[in-house]
């Protein structure tokens, strides 16, 4: 089971749950199972611009992003982009 970790604001929106264990083949599969999916994706189904995703410490915006494959023990971190000072 992959693990998804949410930042504080999203965890509050998920009923206080910060850590999710999910059966998912890709980053997109994992994120779309979350109860906060409509905060992660816009109405076109695109990941919002200022959300970054790290899989096992690697920023997947530089890779295949939602198509990035997950291993059973992958750790997925959702992180708001650091923009500004």
């Amino acid at each position: 089971m992959a693990v998804v970790l949410l930042p504080a604001v999203l965890a509050a929106e998920a009923g206080g749950q910060k850590r999710f264990e999910l059966d998912a083949g890709t980053v997109g599969d994992a994120l779309r199972q979350l109860p906060v999916r409509n905060l992660l994706f816009d109405e076109a189904g695109e990941l919002r611009r200022l959300i970054n995703v790290f899989v096992d410490g690697i920023d997947v915006r530089g890779g295949r992003l939602l198509e990035e494959e997950l291993r059973p023990d992958s750790e997925v971190r959702v992180v708001g982009a650091v923009a500004g000072g």
Partner: protein, 345 residues
């Protein structure tokens, strides 16, 4: 009588409870910029138009006074279109059991399930004049929604004011005599930059608006507007507007220096009041700082049967009794205030 003021700030929602003295509760919804929050007088539910730079635009509601919150399940623009929902701006109770929500880009939603799901108003979204609308500095926001005597009004920056006489099935531009001095044609059919629009609760044919280019009143449901500045107001520019629920000739504005200098006019925190339908205006600022450069945003001024209230971008909330009495600072050092509403506790 106890009063509840939902105060929307850039860093969450605060509740001010007043009954002789004032208590501050919050922040609620931390992490969300609350563009507007209100208590639905029909069932006591708190609704908040909430926005986050990372997680987008949504609406939260609480049926237990802010102790717990639920988020809208369905809210957005049609898939496959060019437009996306940029922000939620204003929530208004309907004339029946419905709720209305205004947002950016110049959109209106209706909810018939208490704010769980929201349906886009197609007539406004597909309005034939939309290609002549343009965003103001705050975006192209539907910030004013008024329902009165079978009519519905919206104010959009910078698209203008619109009226519907068929519950939102169609919308008529109502911008006659309203200036758009930033346009090649200063009196176009649409494109005016409404900053706030209100209908008098006792006199449904009387509308007021603070516009980018002046303060206006209409006595015929928006068909014609009369410009009211240049007669006691220091400038024509400002955002907030308040009325007196018992006297349709009374209105309040807080002018700003100019469209380029968004702070209070003449270096003072000046609330201006008219009691003759806008024929003249006078300072109603007893108790307010006489040297101040602050900003009060379009949703930052509210009123009820007894008092008027406003909140500043510098985090202070002021209240004065209806009729022009002395102002009292009832809260300070909050985050930048985006909205103030008044409800019975």
């Amino acid at each position: 009588m106890s009063v509840l003021l939902p105060i929307g700030t850039r860093k969450g929602l605060f509740l001010l409870r007043g009954n002789g003295s004032w208590e501050v509760e919050g922040p609620l919804l931390p992490g969300w910029a609350v563009y507007h929050a209100m208590v639905d007088p029909r069932d006591g539910t708190l609704h908040a138009a909430t926005n986050n730079p990372f997680y987008g635009a949504t609406v939260h509601r609480s049926g237990d006074g802010g102790a717990s919150w639920e988020r809208a399940e369905e809210l957005g623009l049609p898939e496959g279109g060019e437009l996306k929902l940029n922000a939620t701006w204003h929530i208004e109770p309907g004339s029946g059991s419905e709720l209305w929500l205004g947002g950016d880009p110049g959109v209106l939603f209706r909810s018939d399930d208490g704010g769980v799901t929201w349906e886009l108003n197609g007539a406004l979204f597909e309005h034939p004049t939309r290609d002549r609308w343009q965003p103001g500095a705050g975006g192209m926001c539907t910030h004013s929604i008024q329902l009165s005597d079978g009519a519905m009004y919206v104010g959009i920056s910078a698209a203008g004011a619109f009226r519907s006489d068929d519950e939102g099935a169609s919308w008529t531009p109502i911008n006659k005599n309203v200036a758009a001095e930033f346009m090649p044609d200063p009196h176009p059919e649409v494109g005016q930059c409404v900053h706030k629009l209100l209908v008098h609760p006792q006199r449904p044919d009387r509308l007021w608006q603070q516009n980018h280019c002046g303060v206006y009143r209409s006595d015929d449901r928006g068909d014609n507007w009369e410009r009211l500045d240049g007669n006691g107001l220091p400038t024509s520019f400002g955002f907030p507007l308040a009325l007196d629920p018992q006297d349709p000739d009374v209105a309040y504005v807080i002018p700003e220096q100019s469209q380029e200098l968004h702070y209070t006019a003449e270096g003072r925190l000046g609330v201006y009041r008219t009691d003759d339908g806008g024929a003249s205006w006078a300072l109603a600022s007893e108790g307010l700082p006489e040297r101040a450069w602050v900003a009060v945003l379009r949703e930052g001024l509210a009123f009820d049967d007894d008092s008027i209230y406003f909140g500043t971008q510098s985090g202070a909330v002021w209240a004065a009794p209806r009729g022009g009495g002395r102002w009292t600072e009832i809260a300070r050092d909050l985050p930048p205030i985006l909205s103030v509403e008044a409800a019975q506790a």
